[in-house]
Symmetry: C2
Subunit: 232 residues, 2 copies
DNA sequence: AGGAATTTTTGCGCAGAGTGTAATGTTCAC
DNA sequence: GTGAACATTACACTCTGCGCAAAAATTCCT
């Protein structure tokens, strides 16, 4: 029951074992998100999450290296994929432009995955909103993005053919880009998904390319774009 | 001995109690930095640091809320000061410009404080270099800067008179700025202080204002600027 | 289907981070 | 000097996170 409710239906090409693993992973994530949204990060123990997902506490750590990791994507192999894409996207164009394209695309993927995770996207966003408000978790998210930042910096240095020890530009670009992503994600979550994440990301990078002018339109067309939650 | 070697000499206006507190704080910091530079963050326990500084492990946590906090500035009241300065610096100018001025000034202060901390600035920078290389610590630094980022975002929103819930610009600016600071600091440390931190910061913000062009000169005059504190 | 091989889960123990509390020293103010 | 105020310490406790080996589940082979 605890597992079955998250397993979609049938994916015949994947073994039963794989399906179960995926199901427990999702179950853990979902219950973690749920409990933290209810009580706050500090008042939820790993034991609570494990109990809610109906597995042993030890199993939790077989899936996630830390309590925070269950809340964020914390994806291991995706970082490498990101690295590759940054290297090869739009070969002729400037690095900032390539970065923009890759990260906007990534924003779409993240949005979709969120939809897959839980039943109601609205509920999920509501939880995200609460989660992101916790200062401790904002710090944890920043820490999580430090990994991504490192990979981006590497990829950019390779793309630009410069030595990171001598040229701070790749690292600067990576840090600034992850900063933009962070701000965008937080805004997106705290707005309850009123604006599509990919468009917000695109606007942010537009602002970067324009030198962060004081009066720039960062929000996409204010239409009924998304869940219709927060109206404006 | 453990305390005496860090207490400068005489600051008569401060009570003995205050002097001792400051001395143990510095002692803890220094030994923490030292041990971590030697063995790596993971292989140093709080007990080790406390023992090296000749205090009880419990006392360590009276000074720092976490092991990481002993390595970074982790300053409590400075954030508030930063917030105020961002609010009132250069009233007429754009926010990015004010931010730049405040953070470049802050870079100078940080550089000076590092000099005050330990005996040999060269040794200190060597330690910083090692410390910053640890992935875990890079993550911790990012987490630490999340606090600053929040304060900056608040200050910027107030300065610009916009509602952070509706306008992502202040948060974006704050995230991007802290990103730039992070990249700059890391580069500065890993270069062993070859370039003055304040000038690196200034160049980074120049690049931001210029829209992060591909070929911008981020490094200051490549003279013999090296470790000799910061001459201009 | 039956049994072996593999993988996953789990229980147990352990080291380390971080906190509350109460007792013990140390400094300050009078 | 004496007591108040403050800092340090010991002790006990919870929680995170991991290594290890037994147990349970799943897959594969015949």
């Amino acid at each position: 029951m605890t597992l079955a409710d998250t397993a979609p239906a049938a994916e015949p090409q994947i073994s039963l074992r794989e399906r179960k693993k995926l199901a427990t992973r999702r179950s853990l994530r979902r219950h973690a998100l749920d409990l933290v949204a209810q009580r706050g990060f500090m008042h939820v123990t790993v034991e609570d999450i494990a109990e809610a997902a109906d597995v042993s506490p030890r199993t939790f750590f077989n899936y996630f290296p830390s309590k925070e990791a269950a809340l964020f994507g914390a994806d291991p192999e995706r970082v490498a994929a990101l690295r590759e894409r940054v290297l090869h996207q739009a070969p002729g164009e400037p690095a900032l432009s390539a970065l923009r394209q890759v990260l906007v695309a990534e924003a779409r993927v993240v949005t979709n995955e969120l939809g897959e995770l839980g039943g109601d996207p609205l509920d999920m966003l509501r939880r995200m909103k609460i989660v992101r408000a916790d200062p401790h978790l904002r710090a944890a998210q920043s820490a999580h993005m430090a990994n991504i930042e490192g990979a981006l910096a590497e990829a950019l240095a390779e793309r630009l053919g410069t030595d990171p020890a001598r040229d701070p530009y790749p690292a600067l670009l990576a840090s600034v880009a992850t900063g933009a992503i962070r701000a965008t994600t937080v805004f997106w979550a705290s707005s309850g998904g009123a604006y599509p994440l990919d468009q917000l990301t695109d606007r942010a990078f537009q602002a970067l390319a324009d030198g962060l002018p004081e009066h720039c339109s960062l929000r996409p067309v204010s239409g009924t774009a998304a869940p219709g939650k927060d109206e404006e």
